[in-house]
Symmetry: C2
Amino acid sequence: MDGALSGLRVLDLSRVLAGPYAAMVLADLGADVVKIEMPGTGDDARAYPPHVAGESVYFMSLNRNKRSLTLDLKSDAGRELFQALVRQADVLVENFRPGTMARLGLGYDELAALNPRLIYAAVSGFGQTGPYSPRAAYDAVLQAMGGIMSITGPEDGQPTRVGTSIADITAGLFSAVGILAALNKRQETGVGQMVDVAMLDCQVAILENAIARYAATGQAPRPIGNRHPAIFPFEPFDTSDGQLMVAAGNDTLWARLCAVIGRPELADDPRFATNPSRHQNYAAMRAALAEALAQRPTADWQRELDAAGIPNGPINDVADVVHDPQVQAREMIQEVEHPVAGKTLLPGVPIKLSATPGGIRRPAPLLGEHAEEILADWLGYDAAEVARWRARGALGAG
Amino acid sequence: MDGALSGLRVLDLSRVLAGPYAAMVLADLGADVVKIEMPGTGDDARAYPPHVAGESVYFMSLNRNKRSLTLDLKSDAGRELFQALVRQADVLVENFRPGTMARLGLGYDELAALNPRLIYAAVSGFGQTGPYSPRAAYDAVLQAMGGIMSITGPEDGQPTRVGTSIADITAGLFSAVGILAALNKRQETGVGQMVDVAMLDCQVAILENAIARYAATGQAPRPIGNRHPAIFPFEPFDTSDGQLMVAAGNDTLWARLCAVIGRPELADDPRFATNPSRHQNYAAMRAALAEALAQRPTADWQRELDAAGIPNGPINDVADVVHDPQVQAREMIQEVEHPVAGKTLLPGVPIKLSATPGGIRRPAPLLGEHAEEILADWLGYDAAEVARWRARGALGAG
């Protein structure tokens, strides 16, 4: 398959989520991603449940389209082989605690000296600089420290963790953007650079207008349940048989919503005419909508709101999502055959490119599965040479 | 400033959040982003509160580093001027409902005929294909339909909206990745392509292992409060004076945590020795940790856990985030002077590139502020020519 990133060689030394996610996004678009794993146990995520036939579905979800090679980076032979791979790489992704690679003699400066074209992406909890830089971190800690929990949760309730690892995933996405931007620059300059992405920084970035709201009002925003802080109406309502999310994001949509619910006079009511006035008279607005929407079942309202072009939708669980006709039509749930675990479901590729579409070409690798293949492709080694590296312990004691 | 994307010309026709976020990420890295706005009211987000001196801080948070030009795309003159700009553009970003640009005679096929190098990114609720494609959507609807709400919220409680517009933001980030991947391909082929990103698809993508967990267990995951579905312990605990998030993501960290809390024997207890066993004996594990951590204040535990390299942190609100020393050291809160609203706070740039750092070069634009400048830069027009286009109504009646 000729992907948008075909021919791009990526060394992925990262574990668990943020780094692996960045490398997976590149792999989905065609990059040749070699996952370098610790001999013996490999990526920590291989231990995360649930397991199917001993294989972690967590790991499988983050490492499709990659090949695996174990390297003992604490051995001279392992470092030597790693350096040979670095000379062939376009991109390196790591998410060790800052300083770890430098202690192995494999920091950015050392690797850039071997390969000035290398783009070196370091994803970490707090970044390569600043007072917290050396600290270890995981998603939950960054969701806590980065503010998103403080604005998520029931109205006046406890700060709440986002149910997916959003601190890792957004750091992975910002890293992918940074890597590709550096690649664009390299086309012009011929040299790579370091991409330093901190999960904490990314959490700050995705707070976006919450920061300016705090600056404007002096009040730290609190959890407000399922309504929106700045757009009205933009929240779920009870129907006669369930719930429906209704989002009328501008005055035109508001007027149409008033017509659909049989209360056209509300559109002309000065209390509700503009988004700021609906903000000021929120309780009255909500009461009027709640009363009307409670009269009929969800499916009726969906049909009428869709016909009027008013954004609305049900609150789906993961089973609903997997079976949703639109999700299916977009090939966003893919059945992937794993050699040990059998069939599993993975998300598809959400970046749909017309000329060079991405795709899932292979399942997540077994630990060290592709040693021979990778060393042949990248370094031209034959089986005897690979065996010599193995004998020297480069690939670990196993 | 010589950014990684300097010289990249981007036409941003998008409104509110997902498209503007994608274009902002490119602008932060040096791209020349021209925001095309509807005459009169401009981007819908200009109406979103709170306002300072009449300027929306919501809008300001998503449009720094861009210049604004109004165009009446329903007029012949407006479309003609727009087409002249398209011939000079590398990238176009729009987030209209699918079909809107084609109805204006400005769909991908028409624009690619004018400029085969154009990378055309369409961000929409449901994508350019599939049965829901024509439907309107906003973040709240996609959070509801995409499953993230169903796994966020108090244990056994209501599905909960993520407090930031995560459906928009992730779609913006995936779009930026897609645009840059297409740009990489264009270096080789000389031609652009279409990037079709659906917010719903992106919500599916960020569910990541929740889908494989559903496939493995047959159970749709539910909200589980602040613990993690697959890693133990990974959750907040009460201390004697507050709360602390503690994330011991592997067996080594677990053993160190047992030592720090003065219960080293727990590390050898077979009920807790591995992540799967801690999963099975979760209630006993939580009880032991809760009892120990409740004995001393947060600051004591932070110091000891940091010394032992165990990820931990407080649950910060937005005010805490703004004043955090690490956030400050990373320049992730920036004071930006707006010509009308005065000083405001915006998130910094979370992609730190060593050779070509990004930055905030200008505040969000006033509506149509840069017409003369843009038309001079991109098309070489002098003031008299711009005046003629104005007189023909290309820039709107205003």
